[in-house]
Amino acid sequence: MNSSLNLWVIPILPLAGAAINGFLGKRSSRQAVSTIALFFSGAVFAMALWVAMRFWFSSLTLPYHEYLAHWIRSGSFSADFAFYLDQLSLVMLLVVTGVGFLIHIYSVGYMWEDPSYYRFFSYLNLFMFFMLTLVLANNYLVMFIGWEGVGLASYLLIGFWFTKDSAASAGKKAFIVNRIGDFGFLIALFLLIKHFGSLNFDQVFQSIAPLAPETAGTGLLTAIGILLMVGACGKSAQIPLYIWLPDAMEGPTPVSALIHAATMVTAGVYMVSRSHVIFERAPTALTVVAIIGTLTAFFAATIGIAQTDIKKVLAYSTVSQLGYMFMACGAGAFSAGIFHLMTHAFFKGLLFLGAGSVIHAVGGEQDMRKMGGLKSFIPWTFLTMGIATLAIAGIPPLAGFWSKDEILWRAYQVSWVYWLIGLITAFITSFYMFRLLYMTFFGDYRGAQADAHGSHGHDAHGHGEPHESPMVMLVPLMILAVLSLLGGLVGIGNRFEHFLAPVFGSVEVVEGASHGTEMLLMGVSVAVALLGWWLAYLLYYSRPELPQRIADALGGFYQTVVHKYYVDEIYAALFVKPLIDGSTRILWQDVDRKIIDTAVNDAGDGARRVSDEARHMQSGNIRSYAAWIAAGSAVVIAFMVWMGSR
């Protein structure tokens, strides 16, 4: 029997931090603000660790339920504030609080100069609150609180520098695109309510578990699965709703690291994994997940090749890596997905923070073409980012290698097509990541000595030349670098899978025959990663003039890739513009004004016109009046005679 963990404290702590900083921060010093923010995010991390310890030392059995209070009650339907902890959420909990805490620390340094310092930490803590709610939810609706809430936090943080139009627009875009996904999510919830009468994970899954897997194409669970995937697409930036994530880089870099790489964007993966009971019984939905994941992984990676903005590269990389996770889920390897989620949180968080450090170093410049040769200026950053790059490229024995390989192997078991595309993506990933590394840290420094980008406030202490970040920023980098180095080791020998087995079911027994195949595939993928590295080395270090020539040779296609396949433009032309123009011209001007309101006013005018006509009966002439009387009486008499003689 578990004694109460008081899990509710976990989300409440950052909320308290957010509230304190939000209401009082404006009048407090930066030190006070950072103390509050760090205290609350640290405390929540400590508490997560404590929970994990208790589990580790077996004083806690999972899953663990905690009921807090009523929320919505309508008839027999109820959704209450209640929390749920199992191995899956424990992993998420640790990742979110851990990475979150590190990024809080980092932000103290990164945002120190910003005039809205308090606001940033308030938002950041708010984000933690919602993210933890999402992770710890006991039912879909509470999860939805977190789900929408992280969207809100993301909106606020992307638009943190709201005076920049692009930032404000990006925030709005993120929220709205997320809402489109939420639309699918909601419909899925309605289906669940309609057919299972509840949104509690336990109840829903218990009702579903006995059901047989549905045959392809039809069925309730398929619908629910696909709709949930729509929601996940929104949150986790998958095709076709990935478009907001690259724009989200308008936010401060720690935000990109925390929300748009490590935690929030993985919520979709978490949710799909959480709903694995549904997906496992809906093969079609699973296939959809796999296809979307695979396509996104490949598609986003190709865009990443041509990007020159350091954060944009990382953004597309994130999209691509999330695609991997969905590929895993689609292949039924939920634990592999979660594994990659975790390692990705480490190295992508690290990459973003490193990028932030770079940007910090070069005074706000984000264009890699204006960087170069930074390794001597910022060696620590270079070192940590290098580790992260190796990790994401899949060079053993770093974290990314283990998780990515697991996914590719599991995908191969489902279909070699997934594997192949995944492999190609791995090659591209390796290429653009090393491209990033070479362009940024090698060669000569191409940036301006004194920069004009003073708008962001984090670079106020004017730059003579690039300089290393303060320790408060470097320490999180180092910790994450260590995690990126070693984090993958927990997956050796399927230990991670075993850990999650109570959630996802036991690990399949791997046949001996395929063990060799697995080794082979592993070798191939390592080779591919090295190939990518080599190509990047070739193009961006030893023969830097080549990329331009290749670009020229490719011409239109290159342009298409640079412009991200014009997807934003296509969406704008297909949806946004018709919607706005149509609403303005057809709905508002035509239907509302011209038809409905005109009809109303015409009725009034018509009455007035009739009135004018009626008034002219009143000609002022006595004889006319007498005529009316005479004619009227004639009618009356005629009628009465008719009635009387009937």
């Binding site: 309508s74 008839g75 638009g159 709205i176 639309f183 419909i187 309605f190 109303v600």
Partner: protein, 505 residues
């Protein structure tokens, strides 16, 4: 006074306290400050009195409570019959909650004919409360019509440029809509000999009304038309943007916050209560209109260049949710509809107050006149954001609960209703956040905006309760749903043929 004896007259007290205050106000000398304070005191007093209702309300009990039933006119048989159930209870409290805020928000903005303004406001409050508390159809109609004049005058006297057009349009539109209801009420009286809602309902349910089956559809339409204009349901909505844009802030707040609810309340109470059969037959097109309202209202709101018009069209959209929920005949749908009514009252009331605050400073509602306001007015921007998010339907704020329940209910009725309705959550994010961005984000384009002052004390007192209420309603909806749920369940008993739907979620 013991609570029991207070409970027996509390409705009368709550209903007529503002009127009495208004009459007293007439006698007061024209010293604006005193008048404002007096009006505030009266409205607060009414609010405090009205709190008696939820506090002593027996939540688990579905029927009418705090009932008073005294004969008023013997022939025709008109009774002074008032009572509240879980449905009307909250609408009364909503009214009394919003009125003091209206007084506060008008504190500085009304500086001419102050006395008249507050007298009208208080009279309006009485009429509004009366609409929700009266159970006698005559009494209901009485209060229903009585809301027209003070509202029209508030718009017409204290409004903006095209106030006369708007006031007349508002008046005529609703007047003509409601006469059909009068005809239907008269028919019911002629055939049942009673104006009493409960009596008539029982007679109809018992099949004791001669000629009812032939007339029922017309009666349904008679009531429906009056309510549809008030809601307003597409395509009867065009009075709303005009009325809102021209109305003074307090007028808009009450108009959106409470007056529109009269329509949906009427649909719920009377159309569903008296004509369950017809309601079911007509549900498909009513829901279609509601869906059109949701989507159409949102799309038109999206492209409005005028902030108040935008909010007005958003009301069309939101009220579409209410109607959708009501005509889904599901527990969730009706609960949700009720909750959207309350939530919309709070959040749209808040939005109108905020718009009014801006208008006071800049004398315009044009969105293009603003931009970058978050810098000079951070508190204002933050408050605005909270209300916007409540309106967008963010979980843990009030908008979400209602919309979720409504859509869930509609979905249970027919999937397509829920799906189309759910697009509304996308639209609301689109138009509100876009508007928010254009007003608050970016750089300041009009230098005068740099000098705008942040919220004043009175404005804070007016806006923050709304924000707080939005939060409380979002976090602890159970406080409201606890009373709503049994009442809705009772309202749905005539629909018990579809048992699964009713008792189900």
């Amino acid at each position: 006074m013991s609570t029991d004896s207070l409970s027996s007259i509390i409705l009368t007290l709550v209903t007529f306290a503002p009127l009495a205050g208004g009459l007293l106000l007439m006698l007061l000398p024209r010293r604006d400050r005193d008048i404002r304070i007096f009006a505030l005191v009266i409205s607060l007093l009414t609010f405090v009195l009205s709190l008696h209702l939820p506090v002593y309300f027996h939540r688990a009990q579905a029927g009418f409570q705090y009932e008073i039933d005294k004969p008023w006119v013997s022939t025709p048989n008109i009774h002074y019959h008032m009572a509240v159930d879980g449905i009307s209870l909250w609408l009364v409290v909503l009214t009394t909650f919003l009125t003091p805020l209206c007084v506060l928000i008008s504190w500085k903005s009304i500086h001419e004919r102050v006395k008249e303004f507050f007298i009208l406001l208080l009279i309006l409050e009485t009429a509004l409360i009366g609409v929700f508390t009266s159970l006698d159809l005559f009494l209901f109609y009485f209060f229903w019509e009585a809301t027209l004049i003070p509202m029209a005058l508030l718009i017409g006297i204290f409004g903006h440029e095209r106030k006369v057009y708007a006031a007349v349009k508002f008046f005529m539109y609703t007047m003509i809509g409601s006469v059909f209801m009068l005809a239907a009420i008269l028919w019911l009286y002629a055939h049942t000999g009673s104006f009493d809602f409960v009596v008539i309902r029982e007679q109809i349910a018992g099949g004791a009304v001669p000629g009812f089956s032939a007339a029922a559809q017309w009666l349904f339409l008679g009531f429906f038309l009056a309510f549809a204009v008030k809601v307003p349901l597409f395509p009867f909505h065009t009075w709303l943007p005009d009325a809102h844009v021209e109305a003074p802030t307090a007028g808009s707040v009450l108009l959106a916050g409470v007056l529109l609810k009269m329509g949906t309340y009427g649909l719920l109470r009377f159309n569903l209560g008296l004509f369950p059969e017809q309601s079911r037959h007509n549900a498909w097109w009513v829901m279609t209109l509601a869906l059109i309202g949701i989507i159409y209202g949102a799309l038109v709101a999206m492209v409005q260049p005028n902030m108040k018009k935008l909010i007005a069209y958003s009301s069309v959209s939101h009220l579409g949710f209410v109607v959708l929920g009501i005509f889904s005949f599901t527990q969730a749908g009706l609960n949700g509809a009720m909750f959207v009514m309350l939530a919309h009252g709070i959040s749209t009331g808040g939005l109108f107050m905020l718009a009014g605050i801006l208008h006071e400073r800049r004398h315009t509602y044009e969105i293009s006149e603003f931009g970058g306001l978050a810098n000079p007015m951070p508190i204002y921007a933050a408050s605005y954001l909270v209300i916007v998010l409540a309106s967008v339907g963010l979980p843990l704020l009030n908008g979400f609960i209602g919309e979720f329940l409504v859509l869930s209910g509609a979905f249970q009725d027919k999937a397509i209703y829920g799906i189309l309705g759910a697009t509304g959550i996308i639209w609301s994010a689109v138009y509100l956040l876009w508007m928010y961005q254009r007003v608050f984000y970016g750089t300041i384009t009009h230098p005068v905006n740099n000098t705008l002052g942040d919220l004043s004390g009175f404005e804070k007192m007016a806006v923050w309760p709304c924000a707080a209420a939005a939060l409380v309603m979002g976090v602890a909806p159970i406080l409201w749903l606890g009373a709503i749920d049994p009442a809705v369940h009772a309202a749905l008993t005539p629909f018990v043929q579809v048992v699964g739907r009713v008792v189900g979620p």
